[in-house]
């Protein structure tokens, strides 16, 4: 799937910049993560950027003040950015950050947040396909983003935020919810 196909008419200036294929801002962040896979600072800042940017800007502000119903309406209307990230291999990159930096709480927290944001309200077939084809090759063999999440939860049993984001992701992946 081509990233350019996701270019949509913009309603928010900052979101429009993110979606502009010529600038390729999400791709720049992914490239930074690929090129500097062993640098904790790059992984941390990139994950934080993805965590924040995977959220529609105007939606994020509204959501803080809104009810659950409004929240669903807003995120369902703007799933494009998350889909861009899912199809661009961000799952492997974020999972790799989780495996590489088990003791960096910032990385663990931001990476779990990205995964949750990516999974939330993203079209289920696209999401499951992306998770199924994502694998990280490391010393322990071929590992999946779900294994990365479970390890993150195991290592951070005392951190509410990590657990909240990871549980949210697993909930999204585990099937349909009653509406």
């Amino acid at each position: 799937m081509n990233i350019c196909t996701y270019f949509l008419q913009a309603k928010d200036e900052r979101a429009a910049i993110m979606r502009t294929p010529e600038l390729g801002i999400p791709v720049l962040i992914f490239d930074a993560m690929r090129q500097h896979a062993k640098v904790a600072d790059v992984q941390n800042r990139a994950c934080r950027a993805l965590f924040h940017l995977s959220y529609k800007n105007d939606a994020a502000r509204a959501i803080l003040l809104s009810t659950n119903i409004e929240y669903k309406k807003i995120t369902q209307a703007h799933p494009v950015l998350k889909e861009i990230m899912v199809v661009s291999g961000s799952l492997e990159l974020v999972a790799n950050a989780l495996f590489e930096f088990p003791n960096q709480l910032d990385v663990q927290r931001s990476a779990c947040g990205v995964l949750w944001n990516l999974t939330h309200n993203t079209e289920q077939p696209l999401l499951l396909a992306a998770f199924e084809r994502s694998h990280v090759n490391n010393n322990n063999g071929n590992q999946t983003p779900v294994q990365a999440l479970i390890l993150a939860m195991n290592r951070n049993m005392n951190n509410v935020t990590v657990l909240q984001y990871a549980c949210g992701t697993i909930l999204q992946l585990s099937g349909t919810r009653k509406k």
């Binding site: 090129q35 800042r45 947040g113």
Partner: protein
């Protein structure tokens, strides 16, 4: 506008040095670094980016004049991020001046420089993400089935 604190008196001198020595990479790098430090105080950000001082123009000029100087690019990205941090007006001004393009160019031109990449990621987040708010990733409303209906 009056400086918010005494340390900000330095910004006039720094900006003057940067404006006078645009072609000197070392001055531009240190100048961007100094402005970044000053902008770490929230009340200083508006002063630095006021019409009178326009620190953002100095930083963007430095970045555009020294595209191959990785340290100018790193400090420039960090300074732009600091100006935009938690300040909606500054974010809007910087986007109007295409600061995000300067950051993207820095990242594109210096792919092997980890510090440029990390500062670039932070700057993009501060410029383009919702202002100062952590995304509300999980907002569930739990209802206790035992209490429901009481």
């Amino acid at each position: 506008m009056e400086p918010a604190d005494e340390s900000l008196a330095a910004h006039v001198i720094v900006l003057q040095a940067m404006n006078n020595l645009v072609t000197h990479g070392g001055v531009q790098r240190q100048g961007c670094g100094a402005l970044r430090k000053l902008a770490m105080e929230p009340q200083n950000r508006a002063v630095l980016m006021s019409n009178k001082h326009q620190a953002e123009v100095a930083v963007l000029t430095a970045m555009r004049s020294h595209p191959n100087h990785n340290k100018v690019q790193k400090q420039g990205c960090a300074a732009l991020g600091a100006f935009a941090d938690d300040n909606t007006e500054n974010q809007a001004t910087l986007i109007r001046l295409k600061a995000h393009e300067a950051v993207a160019a820095a990242m594109r031109n210096h792919p092997t420089q980890a510090k440029v990449q990390s500062r670039g990621c932070s700057a993009l987040r501060k410029l383009l993400a919702s202002n100062g708010q952590t995304p509300p990733a999980v907002r569930f409303e739990f209802k206790c089935c035992l209490c429901e209906g009481k």
